[in-house]
Each structure stands twice: as structure tokens, then as C-alpha cells.
Symmetry: C2
Subunit: 237 residues, 2 copies
């Protein structure tokens, strides 16, 4: 399951909405979904280059519709982002590559292989999700991590997982302007080799509002039920 | 109320425990508490310089026991941290001042003035806590912010506030190695002009364990009670 927000900003006075989830699909053969975080010019260029390579069909450049495995797909995205960042940074003579940085989550399945998920760094290298580390977050991830750490369960249904991701995003939405609704959700059922359910959750969505308000209320209640710290005025000995 | 952890690290294989809370007190006249985050060499040098200035009593340097107001105390700390960082960075010819950075929370009261709290940046400038922005966090603050945003209430008792800070720190402790027990807690009752209750909470503390386990359990229960997202497989129209 994937979820991404749509907020981009160049300063808090210049906020727009852009989709950060891209899917390449050929039912029965492959479905590859890419989530992006970081510099929008970089992420859009990376996605455009992946698209272009498919259209031009020059043989020297690998094509995301032709790579034989998810590992090769991750390598393709990693090579692309590294070259994009290097070109911008070198071309302008800019010292810092950090400001053009972008990070990606790539997941999906290609016929003949397993379902895989990778976290791809701006340097082009990547790591794979495992049973020990079953989820990835990119972008503004810290606010939303505590509930993932505590409530994630590998046996969750998609409906529960969607709830968890919404709660996690909502914690970030409440703390940080750089993340904003709507949220894009996509599911993938292993070995189906086709796109699963997809939704775009708007701020006006009654379920989103129920979760957002319900979770605030539930947290406050849970907090109230915990015992207060009575040790403050006891002697230290 | 102040709370700080004690973890410092130079890489995850070099972790130690240092107090990050310092108090200058002259009962009836002033109590000034400083919390630090960032480069340990910088923060210790800042604290040592503040101490030294008191001992040497040279008139040209202001002394934290002599400054007439909390505002002047914040300015003194700000000027000190800026000069410490500049000296290290310039002296070594290092380009980046960021790696020597340190951030502080300064709070307390000086006779004749109100209780005040400031957040002091590595650049030496500072902001003051207000009713709109009643708490500050420094260091690894993002994981612990969502519960503060949701559960903070200006009418909380010290016992509830201690519980809130422990829950907030615990969210960070569960997500990030760079924060670690024990936790130092200090309270101050406005206009008392003396140190309030103080505790050091060890990992073995039964209350800490009760909160840490209780909060995980409470979060999971609260999460379970929220309705699952049933919209995934409805039509998009």
C-alpha cells in the first residue's frame, strides 16, 4: 500500500498541489509505482525522463517498461535521479547538491519476480524493504513515525493499513505546513500484476474528518487515562 | 516545567550520558535554567564560559548572576553561543558552522520581573514563549510534537505536564537512538524565586515503565477503536 500527500512549497507563501505518486502499468506484465519527496523540479525531471525513454525507445537507455526486474527498475530510477541532480548542481556551479535532493519509494512487481519495495536516495543508491523493516517513509517523516512503529502489524488488512497511514499523515498534517491534503492512496495485491484500489482523499472527505477528529479525541482520552506523575514531590532518596 | 534527556553521541557507536540541564540559582533573587541541544563541545563551552564569568568577576563581561532581567540573560547566552561557534568555525577555517551548532531553552525568573522562557538559536538571536506558543522543544523534536500539540493545556497541573513530557519524550525514544534515558525534570513555581521539584527519571523507574507500556497499549487500543477505511473498494464516482 502506498500513500502520498500533494503539498509542494517554495516557501510558505508559495504552496501548490502536485501529485507525488506515479504508476507505470502493463497488466499481467508489471506494475511499478514511484512516490517522490524533495525538490519538485528534480522529481518531475526524473519522472519525465523515465517517460521519455519509453517513448523514444532508444536502445542505449533502459526503459522502465522493459527492465526485467524490480531491482533493475530501482537501479534505473537511482541512476536517473543521480544524473539529474548532478547535472543541475554542476551546470549551475552550485556548491550544495542538497537543495536539489529528492528521495523516492519504488514498489511493485514484474512478472517472474516477487513484489518488492525500495527506498532510493538522492545519491542513486537504494535499500530494500524486508520483514525487519517492512515500511518506508520519505519526506517529512518524523512526526508520523511513532504511530507506525507502535501500531503496524504485518497481518493488517488494507482497510486497517489505510487507517494507519491516514492517522500517521494526520499527525504530520497537524504539525507541519509542508505536508497537505489531498492524500493519494494506492494498493497492490501481490501477484495480481495490476493496479489495486486507488483513492484520492480530500480534506472534505467524511472518513478523513472522522479519523482526524476521532484520533485527536482518542489520544486525549488515552492520555487522560494514564496516571499522572506523582513522584515530583516525593523525596529523592 | 523543563525536561531534558541525557544522550549524546558522536556516531551511534559512541554514546554517552551527559546532563543537558543547568541551573543558576540565588533563592529570593533569581533562578535561571538552561537546556541545551546540539554539539556537546559547544554547549559545554557556553556553560563553562557563563560559569567562569561569574567566578572571575571581571566587570566588562556580564555575569548571569548579575544580569537585571531574563531578557538580558537570554541576550548573554545568545552572545556567548554565537561567539563560541564563530571562534571554533573561524579558528579551524571550517566552512560549515552548522556542525558546531547548538540551540538552547532558557527559562526562569529574576526578582522584579516576570517568569520568562526563551528559545535561543545558534546565531545568538532568540524568541520568547507566549500564550500562542506556550512551549518550546529543541533537538530531536519532531517525533514528540504531535502529542504536545494535541494534549497540551495551559491549565495542566505539574503532575499532568510531567506525564505529557514523558509521553512526548517516549515517542522520540522509541523512534530515534540519539535521545536516551535518564530524563531530567525540573519545575518552577512562578514568583517563588527558588528551584521547584526536581527528579531524574531512570529507565528502571516504575512510573516511566508504566507510562511507556501504558501509552503503547493505549495508542493501539485507540487506533483499533477508530473505524477502518471502507472507501477503498467503493466506486470513485
Amino acid at each position: 500500500m502506498f500513500m502520498s500527500d500533494t503539498r509542494t512549497n517554495a516557501g510558505v507563501d508559495n504552496i501548490s498541489s502536485f501529485r507525488k505518486m506515479y504508476t507505470w502499468e502493463r497488466p499481467g506484465d508489471r506494475i511499478i509505482t514511484l512516490l517522490s519527496a524533495g525538490n519538485l523540479a528534480t522529481t518531475q525531471t526524473v519522472v519525465s525522463m523515465l517517460e521519455e525513454r519509453h517513448k523514444t525507445t532508444e536502445e542505449r537507455d533502459p526503459d522502465i517498461y522493459e527492465v526485467p526486474s524490480m531491482f533493475k527498475a530501482a537501479k534505473l530510477v537511482g541512476d536517473t535521479v543521480r544524473s539529474v541532480i548532478r547535472e543541475i548542481a554542476d551546470g549551475g556551479g552550485f556548491k550544495s547538491e542538497a537543495s536539489f535532493g529528492a528521495t523516492f519509494i519504488l514498489g511493485g512487481q514484474i512478472a517472474g519476480g516477487e513484489t518488492r519495495m525500495y527506498l532510493i536516495y538522492p545519491e542513486g543508491n537504494f535499500i530494500e524493504a524486508t520483514d525487519d523493516n517492512p515500511f518506508f517513509q520519505i519526506g517529512e517523516h518524523k512526526y508520523g513515525k511513532p504511530i507506525l512503529v507502535r501500531a503496524y502489524d504485518p497481518d493488517m488488512s488494507f482497510e486497517e493499513a489505510a487507517k494507519l497511514l491516514i492517522v500517521s499523515f494526520d499527525s504530520t498534517l497537524k504539525s507541519n505546513l509542508s505536508v497537505g491534503l489531498p492524500l493519494d492512496i494506492q494498493t497492490y495485491v501481490s501477484n495480481s500484476l495490476e493496479r489495486g484500489a486507488e483513492r484520492r482523499l480530500m480534506a472534505s472527505d467524511p472518513y478523513y474528518q472522522e479519523i482526524s477528529e476521532g484520533w485527536s479525541e482518542a489520544l486525549r482520552e488515552a492520555f487522560q487515562r494514564l496516571p499522572n506523575y506523582e513522584g515530583l514531590y516525593k523525596s529523592n532518596s
